[in-house]
């Protein structure tokens, strides 16, 4: 199959939906002629014009509000927050408005929009341009949270998210943008709230999200050489979460490692661990659950410090190996 990059897959999904549905439009900072800070909308203003590819001033609350108001009145906006860090300026609109309007209005309104934003470190952009805040949104009923890890998934999930009738927080990763992978040219959907068993294995279950899925896959290859077969599960949609495949896998392997880049404490891994610990899969656990997350620090500027601030392949290998070798 044709291979393209993650960011090209995002762009293709946007273009295909915009061609198909006149109510879909893009809005964000520098999404026009600049093409978006990471190129996600490159060329789209040329095809769809400035009315459907809207450059905004630096107004993150305004961007979120623009999505909400347009969604409430018949459109399907796709907003872009240039770096996930800046969504801290949109929280009131997203959490108190978008997530609650339908419920507060007795189920008599719909707010269908997607807000895209790149998370993550690794580019040397330091503490204010490297946040991974997905778990804040997972805590909010009324929102959906999607976090794709491959070019294939990002296209299919973005199309499905745009077609969803709810506000969707769509979290990409800066380091994934250049990752290549097979992506069908035709439109297709990857259903929301369907976890994906990325790699089957019998010894240890690894639940990973976003870029950590890629790192877990690399770790898995090394571990396979040692005869350790890890099963990797990518939830893809964090809210509402499809936790069955995770629980089934834990029942099978009895050992689980959860990996994400966000700070470990109160990160998404805590919810996964809790789901397992309160489920019937608990009885099948042969070892304590392990979490691998970002260190309890802001992301440092220095390259070496930055590298060690979040989980890397070798950390995943070490953790999974330790789990596998644990004698029960």
């Amino acid at each position: 199959m044709r291979e393209i990059t993650y960011v090209e897959a995002v762009r293709e999904a946007l273009a295909q939906k915009m061609r198909e549905d006149p109510t879909v439009f893009l809005i964000g900072e520098d999404v026009g002629v600049y093409g978006g800070a990471f190129g996600a909308s490159a060329g789209l203003i040329e095809e769809f014009g400035a009315e459907r590819v809207i450059d905004t001033p630096i107004s993150e609350a305004g961007i979120a509000g623009a999505c909400i108001g347009a969604a409430l009145t018949g459109m399907r906006p796709v907003g872009e927050i240039q770096f996930m860090d800046f969504v801290t300026l949109s929280m009131e609109q997203l959490v108190l408005q978008a997530a609650k309007i339908r419920f507060m209005f007795g189920g008599r309104a719909r707010v269908p929009f997607v807000l895209r934003m790149p998370a993550g470190s690794g580019t040397g952009a330091a503490a204010q341009h490297s946040e991974s805040l997905e778990n804040w949104f997972v805590h909010v009923p009324g929102l959906k949270v999607v976090m794709p890890s491959t070019p294939y998934d990002v296209k299919g999930l973005l199309i499905a998210s745009i077609e969803d009738d709810n506000p969707v927080i769509f979290v990409e990763h800066k380091l994934l943008y250049k990752v290549r992978g097979p992506v069908p040219e035709a439109m297709y959907r990857v259903p929301l709230s369907k976890s994906n068993v990325v790699r089957p294995g019998r010894d240890v279950t690894i639940v990973a999200i976003s870029i950590m899925v890629q790192r877990a896959l690399q770790a898995a290859e090394q571990l396979a050489k040692e005869g350790i077969e890890v099963e990797i599960i990518d939830p893809r949609t964090l809210r509402p979460l499809d936790d069955e495949p995770i629980l089934d896998s834990v029942v099978k392997t009895g050992k689980v490692l959860i990996v994400h880049e966000a700070v470990k404490t109160s990160g998404f891994g805590a919810e996964i661990a809790a789901r397992i610990a309160e489920s019937s899969a608990f009885d099948y656990l042969e070892a304590p659950i392990r979490r691998l997350g970002g260190l309890e620090i802001p992301i440092p500027y220095n390259r070496t410090l930055e590298y060690h601030a979040v989980p890397q392949v070798e950390n995943i290998v070490a953790e999974a190996r330790a789990l596998a070798q644990l004698k029960v």
Partner: protein, 336 residues
């Protein structure tokens, strides 16, 4: 302290009352007056129900501000959008909402506009393009940008009316929303209901400018201040702003000077203002003002008031006879 002498203030827009009156006509003016009475009756009843412990929650009464709601709503067209705020009962009634469904919502009943989920601060009627009151100060301002964009993209001639308080003009959302609406010439009317206080914070303390409408210049949009207790003045200013928006000429900031007669919400000792100030403003009762313009006798006014109260009583009866939401529906309405 005396209330500002709005009438002789040259910085306040003074429309030609006789012209306007002739144009609007007695019939409509009488309807407006009735709606103003209906709003006051609704608020007084809400206060009464609250005092009798029949309401769980809080409420923000618009007694004294009825002319803003009625004048503004009258200036808009069928199909236009409304975004308003926590002190929104009046706006909602003026927008033509069903009093019964509003009262039912206020009492948290299943028959309410929001099935009892929203309550006083969140009454909405999306079918009628009433996009809802907001419990967050300025919460509707960023949303208005999206409504304006959507109207433009859908090529309709709708206009979005956004009503917010003086307090909202000092939030971050105000700067982002008004600038975006201005640079894109969005069909939005920003109506700032300046009732002199944001809770205990007076506009004198919260602003260093004489009129909030002066902020319009920061966005290259027209701004005007009107006497918010003069229903015709509000009507005229909002109508001109709406016409401008409909012509594709963009947003306008209209400031309506009025006054909150009651406390901010359920519990407010009002130590931040004097009785005299309240009295001075009550002397400018927007209802009496319109009544005298219409040359109504005391008797006629009392009758209108009684009609309104009667309608409100019916609404209360409807609401009280209505069922509570079924606990089995608790999880409904979160996702579409």
């Amino acid at each position: 302290m005396e209330a500002p002498a709005i009438a002789n203030d040259t910085t306040v827009y003074q429309p030609d009352a006789t012209l306007l009156r002739a144009e609007v006509g007695e019939k409509r003016l009488r309807e407006w007056l009735y709606t103003m009475h209906l709003i006051r009756a609704f608020e007084e009843k809400a206060e009464d129900l609250f005092a009798r412990g029949m309401v769980h929650g809080t409420m923000h009464l618009s007694i004294g501000q009825e002319a803003v709601a009625v004048g503004a709503a009258a200036a808009m067209r069928e199909g236009d959008y409304l975004l308003n705020h926590h002190r929104g009962h009046g706006h909602c009634l003026a927008w033509g909402s069903d009093v019964n469904l509003m009262m039912a919502e206020f009492l948290g009943k299943e028959t309410g506009y929001c099935r009892g989920r929203g309550g006083s601060m969140h009454i909405a009627n999306v079918e009628k393009n009433n996009l809802g009151a907001n419990g967050i100060v300025a919460g509707g301002l960023p949303i208005s940008v999206g409504v304006g964009l959507s109207i433009k993209m859908r090529r309709t001639d709708q206009v979005c009316l956004v009503i917010f308080g003086d307090g909202a003009a000092n939030t971050g959302a105000f700067n982002e929303a008004l600038n975006m609406a201005a640079i894109w010439d969005l069909p939005v009317v920003y109506l700032c209901e300046n009732n002199q206080y944001a809770m205990s914070m007076s506009v004198q303390k919260a602003f260093k400018i004489p009129h909030i409408s002066l902020r319009a210049a920061a966005y290259g949009m027209p701004g005007v201040t009107v006497d918010g207790n003069d229903v015709l003045a509000v009507y005229d200013a909002v109508r001109q702003a709406a016409q401008r928006a409909r012509r594709g000429e963009g947003p306008t900031l209209v400031e309506a000077l009025t006054y909150r007669w009651r406390g901010h919400s359920k519990s407010d000792r009002q130590v931040y203002r004097t009785r005299d100030e309240v009295k001075a403003w009550q002397a400018r009762d927007p209802l009496r003002r319109l009544a005298s313009l219409l040359g109504l006798s005391e008797a006629e006014q009392t009758e209108l008031a009684q009609q309104a109260r009667a309608q409100i009583e019916e609404a209360v009866a409807f609401a009280q006879a209505s069922p509570e939401p079924d606990l089995g529906t608790l999880m409904e309405g979160v996702y579409a």
